[in-house]
């Protein structure tokens, strides 16, 4: 039966190279120990879906099983850039960190993974284990642990925080701190220039203005600010520590959808802030 299913998946992938069945095939081959075959199919899957976090995760698992931790780490890091809350990538990077005794790094990845999947007992147990190891005498102190995911990956992950929400449409989302400085997200204009700092500076100040106005008008705390303009709809929402989440979309995007994107962006922002 298993052999039949594998063959059926292989036939489908050969018929349709873009079929996502390749991910199931890669996993099944890997579990059977057919690692070289799994690697070949994983690479084919990535050729077809280079921006799919799950495709990078599939290759990462195979490379980890092949003992190539470096490439496994690269692939999981890439998966996280595409989807900062990708559970298996967080789990995988946590495992690799633990293997090389980077307990502080392992704790951070596993804590984020547990936030994404709070009912996962296995994750909770792994995190407890790591924290217990951290408390033991002789454990590498957190201050000496290598910087978690090599700073460029951290920066890339924060820039891509909202990417899974925005799709290919003309939309952007930013997380701004209380001073209007960009914490996460990116905003690239038509020339390919990242203008997030500039946009953040202009729009971040609106939240303060609104806060003052509402205070004087005894309307309480603000929840959503929506501005419709000729070429864009912009919504702002508060985040912890005085931060602000901003979503902007082309004017032809339904206003209700833009508000919904804000709700989702705020959830992502809050989970990310809790984990950083």
């Amino acid at each position: 039966m298993v052999a039949d299913r594998l063959q059926s998946w292989m036939d489908e992938v050969h018929r349709d190279p873009a079929s996502l069945t390749v991910l199931s095939l890669v996993d099944a081959l890997r579990r059977q120990g057919r690692l070289e075959e799994a690697r070949r199919y994983a690479l084919r899957g990535l050729e077809q879906h280079p921006h799919l976090a799950d495709a990078h995760d599939a290759l990462a698992r195979v490379m980890a099983d092949l003992g190539d931790d470096a490439q496994a780490g690269d692939e999981w890091s890439f998966a996280l850039r595409l989807d900062p809350m990708h559970l298996d990538a967080l789990r995988g990077l946590g495992f690799l960190a633990w293997k090389r005794r980077d307990l502080a790094g392992a704790e951070q990845y596993l804590a984020r993974a547990l936030q994404a999947s709070p009912t996962d007992d296995g994750l909770a147990a792994a995190l407890r284990r790591v924290r217990s190891d951290l408390r033991r005498p002789g454990a590498p102190p957190a201050a000496e642990a290598p910087l978690r995911p090599a700073t460029p990956s951290t920066a890339a992950a924060s820039r891509a925080l909202f990417a899974p929400l925005l799709g290919d449409g003309d939309r952007t989302a930013l997380l701004l701190d209380r001073d209007g400085l960009v914490l996460a997200g990116t905003y690239v204009d038509g020339t390919g220039t990242d203008v997030a700092d500039e946009i953040g500076a202009h729009l971040g100040g609106l939240a303060d203005e609104a806060r003052r106005a509402l205070e004087h008008l005894s309307l309480g705390r603000w929840d959503v600010m929506l501005a419709e303009a000729q070429h864009a709809t912009v919504v702002l929402g508060p985040a912890p520590d005085g931060a602000v989440v901003m979503v902007a979309a082309a004017r032809d995007t339904q206003v209700g959808l833009v508000r919904r994107l804000l709700v989702q962006a705020r959830q992502r922002a809050m989970a990310w802030m809790a984990g950083t």
Binding site: D189, E198, I199, H202, L203, G205, L206, E209, A210, R212, A213, L214, H216, L217, S218, L219, G220, R221, W222, D223, V224, M225, L226, A227, E228, A229, Q230, H231, A232, V234, A248, V255
Partner: protein, 115 residues
């Protein structure tokens, strides 16, 4: 002024609306008002105008063009502001008021004034 007063009256008749103010820009002074008692319409005109003008400047600087509507949801109410000719129309509603209805009505009022 009659047309403006009619516009304010139509907006004030919407469910949940507590006050409607036509405020001059950039000074934020109330030019005309239809409001329930207990609403400080001078403060409403001033602060709503300030937020709207700040929003308009920010959107323009960001390359988004002219601002046609600003809506702020807060704990104890909702604030809507839209340009209408030489004034801005400010609508204060209860927190539970359906935003869609006020938004459409304000946009219509704004377009009439521009016509």
């Amino acid at each position: 002024m009659t047309a403006l007063r009619d516009t304010l009256g139509a907006l004030a008749a919407l469910p949940g609306v507590r006050a409607v103010v036509a405020a001059t820009t950039p000074d934020g002074l109330a030019a005309d008002v239809v409001a329930s008692s207990g609403v400080d319409t001078d403060a409403l005109a001033a602060f709503a105008t300030a937020v709207f003008l700040r929003t308009r400047a920010a959107n323009a600087a960001a390359g988004y063009g002219d601002t046609t509507l600003l809506a702020v949801d807060a704990e104890h109410g909702r604030l809507f502001v839209a340009p209408s000719g030489e004034v801005v129309l400010v609508v204060l509603t209860d927190a539970e008021t359906a935003a869609g209805l006020v938004r459409v009505a304000l946009q219509q009022a704004s377009r009439r004034a521009a016509a």
